[in-house]
Symmetry: C2
């Protein structure tokens, strides 16, 4: 075959990066600045992502300005107050202690939007949501590339998306897909933080993988 | 820092895998079988994906059975007939010539579902769609791992999702996120196929990246 063939060593590097990737919050970011060259590499990885009908329906806003971040934090704090009330008992207690964002602590924030096409898109005619899914693929590429560059990334989803669009002056036909906080960290945890805190357990392979048809073993 | 630090060489491997990844259709798959060990590695990479509130809301159905694939192809053909009529002029002509699936040609198909939680999920209270987005992150991990293993992967989205659930006997609260076709290929194209066919152009970096707020330069 004429295309590039990757080796077992290269496969192992990819697996290592995937396994080491973590969702990073404000309690782990350090003061160290992130060069624009590093941010460019992370954005470049987004542009390698697949997109339905090659529509490339993504838009990125890179934020370093403190006043803008402050507006986003205010948005987060309001949403998080509402969110907290939806948990009860031990979970409510744990929830209150969790640091769930890193908006101000991270030197760089990146808001990621889906730009809906007015024309029909190849491959998007039966399942319209695959347009947004393309943007999520770009986010996962960024997350892996950030980890490879030893930069922590946290995805903040406890936000009012319409207010984010107002804050960043984003046109109406766009939809917020992700709000990312990036910075160097003192440590990447060995396991997901919510597993270490016993918020959720790791699911077994058997409970999520089925053959030929869905089996209801659970 | 005590966590693993990746090197520039390892960053380059990741970038190379991302850049070489392609959406593969039935015209490129070879007859070569895919071992279950290889399928397991691809599924394992999905389980390394991030998920909102560590909810791991994914379910995978691995399909090798011809009769099941035939039902999925029938579903695709019907949807694709409807889809074709949405394009006109040169695009309609090109659309008719495109091979848009590899369901029967690929030795392995994997249907990927989002399993909606009945309880509130941490991080999913303001933007409910982030549950599905977690599953898409898992799909992107699979796509990259498949490419690293020199296995082609194509995402088929021209399907009636409810009929797929019937075909695979999937419970109601699940949502189809992706239907994937996997197999070895004779070639990975240098550039996305829809770019080579001049269906869409590559977007410039400047047209999708903004700083501090959205700029409407287009």
């Amino acid at each position: 075959m004429k295309s590039k063939q990757f080796t077992p060593d290269e496969q192992a590097v990819l697996e290592d990066i995937m396994r080491s990737r973590r969702d990073v919050r404000g309690n782990r970011f350090t003061q160290q600045g992130v060069d624009s060259g590093v941010v460019d590499k992370i954005l470049q990885s987004a542009l390698y992502a697949p997109s339905v009908g090659y529509s490339q329906p993504w838009q990125f806003v890179v934020i370093r300005d403190h006043a803008i971040k402050q507006q986003v934090v205010d948005n987060f704090n309001l949403e998080n107050e509402h969110a907290r009330t939806q948990f009860s008992g031990v979970k409510e207690e744990t929830y209150s202690k969790l640091k769930l964002d890193g908006i101000l602590e991270a030197p760089v924030n990146i808001a990621v939007f889906y730009n809906q096409s007015n024309a029909p898109v190849l491959g998007q005619t039966s399942m319209p949501e695959v347009g947004e899914y393309s943007v999520v693929c770009a986010v996962q590429n960024m997350w892996l590339m950030a980890r490879a560059l030893n930069v922590g990334l946290g995805w903040v989803s406890i936000l009012n998306p319409e207010k984010i669009k107002q804050t960043l002056n984003v046109p109406n036909q766009h939809k917020l897909v992700a709000y990312l906080c990036l910075g160097y960290v003192d440590e990447f945890y060995e396991r997901p933080e919510l597993e270490l805190l016993k918020w959720e357990k790791a699911k077994s392979k058997d409970s999520v993988i089925h053959y030929e048809e869905f089996s209801q073993a659970e």
